[in-house]
């Protein structure tokens, strides 16, 4: 994927993309001077297809498609290590967050579908019960990925320690939460295809 694909700088596209990031994350990617400090400290860079620094570069070249279609933005765990260290005071983690939002709104098919599924499952549960029910999340995720038996022993261990409650709680506020979640789902539907 990295390889040596042809790079065609598109400054107008870059301008637009940076503007949208500015609106969502309140930070200007154009300031980046490519020092790589974000990447050097990123815990998850080994699971990424582009390093965070390269993402900044791609944004500044206007390579919107590649940025929104990459693994990196989904693998980011929002640990903020990059943000607190950036010598140009770019909020790198927030940029990743903005790019995820953009990717959802553009309805881009993400290569990190498993992570996306995890998040959506999480929201579905929270939207339904108002609180997270961990057992549902784990089971749901395993069903989706087909990795039903991975971590089975671990699950048993946890169950024995009383760490997996079998029944979800459901507070009264769940309905309001559901409303907020459905606001988002509505937007997802409109944005996505």
């Amino acid at each position: 994927m990295v390889g040596s694909r042809l790079m065609r700088p598109d400054l107008q596209k870059s301008e637009r993309l940076r503007q949208r990031i500015q609106e969502l994350a309140g930070t200007d990617v154009g300031r980046c001077y490519q020092c790589g400090k974000c990447t050097g400290g990123c815990p998850l860079v080994e699971a990424m297809d582009f390093t965070p620094r390269q993402i900044m570069r791609l944004v500044n070249w206007g390579a919107e498609d590649e940025v929104l279609r990459c693994q990196t933005i989904w693998v980011c765990a929002t640990c903020f290590t990059c943000t607190v260290r950036c010598p140009r005071q770019i909020k790198v983690a927030e940029v990743m967050e903005a790019l995820r939002s953009l990717a959802r709104r553009e309805g881009v098919r993400s290569p990190a579908r498993d992570i996306l599924r995890f998040h959506r499952l999480f929201l579905a549960i929270v939207g339904r019960f108002g609180r997270l029910h961990e057992l549902s999340l784990v089971m749901g995720y395993k069903v989706f990925t087909g990795r039903l038996f991975q971590d089975l022993g671990l699950g048993l261990q946890m169950f024995l320690r009383g760490k997996l409650s079998p029944v979800p709680e459901r507070p009264g506020g769940a309905r309001q939460l559901a409303r907020i979640v459905s606001w988002w789902a509505e937007r997802e539907r409109k944005g996505g295809r």
């Binding site: 050097g40 860079v45 390093t51 620094r53 010598p87």
Partner: protein
């Protein structure tokens, strides 16, 4: 009413081609106070000037208006003419009919109407003009140099060679400054102290230089040519006259404290000279750690001293000096990398700064020139340099490039490779800035010696026991790079000294947002400050290497020498004036004055209730530059600006609005 003469210049066809000069003359003749109007083709020419002089004589003119080009062009010319005609130069006013009228307007009616207004403005203003005299102030032929580092040393020597007496004030016990701490210098790899020490000795022995080490400037009063400087000579507890510099006391002192000169990597006694080549070679007692001063017992040094020079009773002394010019060369400090938690500077002894590394490689340093890790005392197998620590970083440090680090890192890498050829050396950089004579070649030499340059800012240094794990991105390949090292050197930025702003306040000079002293103009007046008579040299003005510091010191010295070569100087006549009768003494004017030109004084006034004293503002015409900020700050209208007085500006407004 003052008799005003108005001289309308055609400037060939430049003005007369657009402005109807006869109609203008007719209008001007009707203006109040105008007794003579004439037209000239080229008023600035010799015949033109001569005709003004003649008219002044014949018509007994008291005020003159020249309606011609921009005063920025010819005001000087016509003021000089006024003098030759026997009138005060400030009784002249110009109306700018060319740049502000005929060159920018086409319509003859509009341009003529505007020209009438412009001339009327000048007439109204000049009627209220008063003769202004520039004063003369004597100049004290002596200079103060603040700071005894390489810049201060150079400035002092250059001034002294001009034959100007110099007072050099250095706050630490010895001359030498930061340069004395360095091992070698780039790009020639000269031994730093070998080239510095002779200069230090020269300063100490020069008949025109009075050297005051272990001294600080307490206050500065006065103005260009006439500064009064109060210097605190801190108690050394050692009699400079008696001490022979034999060093007997040094080895006997039982106290051991971290050495400032070795940046805490070595130790010194409570009585100490900062380094062996110190000038003057006179020890000083650090009273905070001296057993006698803290516990009242010991006196070993006193017993050891064969010259009887130890004097525990010595006290700080204040000495006053009068000088005509000041060269500020107070130098820099190194950025404290503790701000970078991720670089573990506090957490590991094996993470050091560039300046600490200098002490580590120096043959006079704590290890005698052997490069050993401060934590384990081992020879490092791998050393990592991190550049731009505290510089080019708005989050943790400052935005500016510290300028010298690229080269000193190259130098230190070369020194490492020379001393420990098998040691692996990595330099993490963002850009290599090697602009300077022979600098690029020097940097390439480091690479050729096998120094590995990695483009990327290091993200984290993890101490792992004795070793350090460095994590960064190699941005040229886009992959994370991790390696272990025995020693990490942080190329810490040059920052202003912590007391820079206080010094600026004492001297009445400006400092930029970082705290470096501001030059009067970045291009055209690079060694002067906004305050006349005060000049800058060295890294106090901004990050600088040795050649730049020395060059600037020379420039500052010659600027100061040019000033001091005169017996007296003229002061600017366009200065603020106080109407003491009206002044309330609130001193609000002093707060807005950028030149510290306003101070207070007591006067006696007669009132209905008898004589009483009151405080009023007073302007020092030697310092005032005539900006007029004080006049606007003054609600009483007691502060006014000669040549641009309130009544004049109001008259100009009225004239334009008729």
């Amino acid at each position: 009413m003052k008799r005003v003469g108005v001289f309308l210049c055609w400037c060939g066809s430049n003005i007369a081609g657009v402005v109807d000069m006869d109609r203008l003359q007719a209008e001007v003749e009707r203006m109040p106070g105008v007794v003579h109007v004439e037209q000239n083709k080229y008023t600035c020419s010799d015949p033109g000037q001569e005709s003004i002089r003649r008219a002044i004589r014949e018509h007994r003119l008291q005020r003159v208006v020249v309606a011609a080009c921009s005063p920025r062009m010819h005001e000087r010319t016509f003021r000089a003419m006024m003098r030759t005609a026997g009138l005060n130069p400030y009784l002249l006013e110009m109306a700018n009919l060319r740049e502000h009228c005929s060159w920018v307007h086409r319509d003859i009616d509009e341009a003529t109407a505007k020209a009438v207004d412009l001339v009327r403005r000048a007439v109204f203003k000049v009627r209220l003009a008063r003769p202004l005299q520039s004063g003369k102030v004597p100049i004290t032929r002596r200079a103060l140099v603040l700071g005894g580092g390489i810049a201060g040393i150079q400035a002092a020597l250059d001034l002294a060679d001009f034959g100007i007496p110099v007072v050099l004030v250095e706050s630490s016990p010895s001359l030498g400054g930061r340069m004395a701490q360095l091992d070698k210098t780039f790009p020639t790899l000269d031994c730093s102290s070998c080239i510095l020490t002779p200069k230090m000795v020269e300063v100490a022995t020069h008949p025109s230089i009075r050297l005051l080490t272990y001294s600080e400037v307490e206050s500065v009063e006065g103005y260009v040519g006439n500064f009064k400087v109060l210097v605190r000579r801190k108690a050394r507890s050692v009699d400079e006259q008696r001490c022979t510099g034999c060093g007997e006391c040094l080895s006997k002192c039982p106290a051991k404290v971290p050495s400032e000169f070795d940046l805490g990597l070595g130790t010194r006694g409570a009585i100490y000279v900062p380094f062996p080549q110190a000038v003057p070679n006179v020890p000083v007692i650090d009273r905070q750690s001296c057993l006698y001063f803290t516990r009242g017992r010991c006196r070993i040094c006193q017993r050891a001293c064969p010259a009887g020079a130890i004097d525990y009773q010595q006290e700080d002394r204040l000495e006053s000096y009068e000088v005509g010019a000041i060269v500020v060369a107070t130098g820099y400090d190194q950025f404290d990398p503790a701000a970078y938690g991720e670089y573990a500077y506090r957490a590991s002894p094996n993470v050091i700064t560039g300046l600490e590394f200098e002490r580590l490689v120096s043959s006079t340093g704590p290890t005698g020139g052997r490069i050993l890790t401060p934590g384990g005392g081992r020879e490092p197998q791998r050393v990592v340099f991190i550049k731009c620590v505290g510089s080019r970083d708005e989050q943790r440090g400052a935005s500016y490039c510290s300028k010298t680090c690229c080269m000193y890192v190259a130098k230190q890498a070369i020194l490492l490779k020379e001393k420990l050829p098998r040691c692996e050396v990595y330099v993490f950089y963002m850009d290599v800035r090697a602009a300077g004579k022979d600098y690029e070649e020097f940097y390439l030499r480091a690479r050729e010696m096998g120094v590995q340059y990695v483009r990327g800012r290091v993200a984290r240094v993890f101490p792992h026991g004795d070793r350090l794990r460095i994590r960064a991105e190699d941005t040229l390949i886009g992959r994370r790079l991790e390696l272990e090292a025995d020693l990490v050197v942080l190329a810490s930025a040059m920052v202003p000294r912590p007391d820079a702003r206080q010094v600026a306040r004492k001297l009445g000079i400006a400092a930029n947002q970082h705290g470096f002293f501001s030059e009067a103009h970045p291009k055209l007046r690079p060694v002067e400050t906004h305050t006349a008579g005060i000049f800058l040299a060295g890294a106090a003005q901004g990050p600088k290497d040795i050649p730049d510091s020395v060059a600037q010191a020379g420039a500052a010295a010659s600027k100061a020498a040019a000033l001091l070569s005169r017996q007296e100087m003229e002061t600017e006549p366009v200065v603020a004036e106080v109407n003491e009768h009206w002044c309330s003494g609130c001193l609000r004017c002093a707060r807005v004055c950028p030149y510290n030109a306003i101070s207070e004084r007591e006067i006696r006034v007669r009132t209905a209730a008898g004589v009483r004293t009151k405080t009023v503002a007073t302007v020092n015409p030697g310092l005032c530059q005539g900006c007029g900020a004080c006049a606007v700050a003054c609600r009483d209208g007691a502060m006014n600006l000669a040549g641009f007085a309130d009544q004049q500006v109001l008259a100009e407004v009225d004239a334009l609005c008729l």
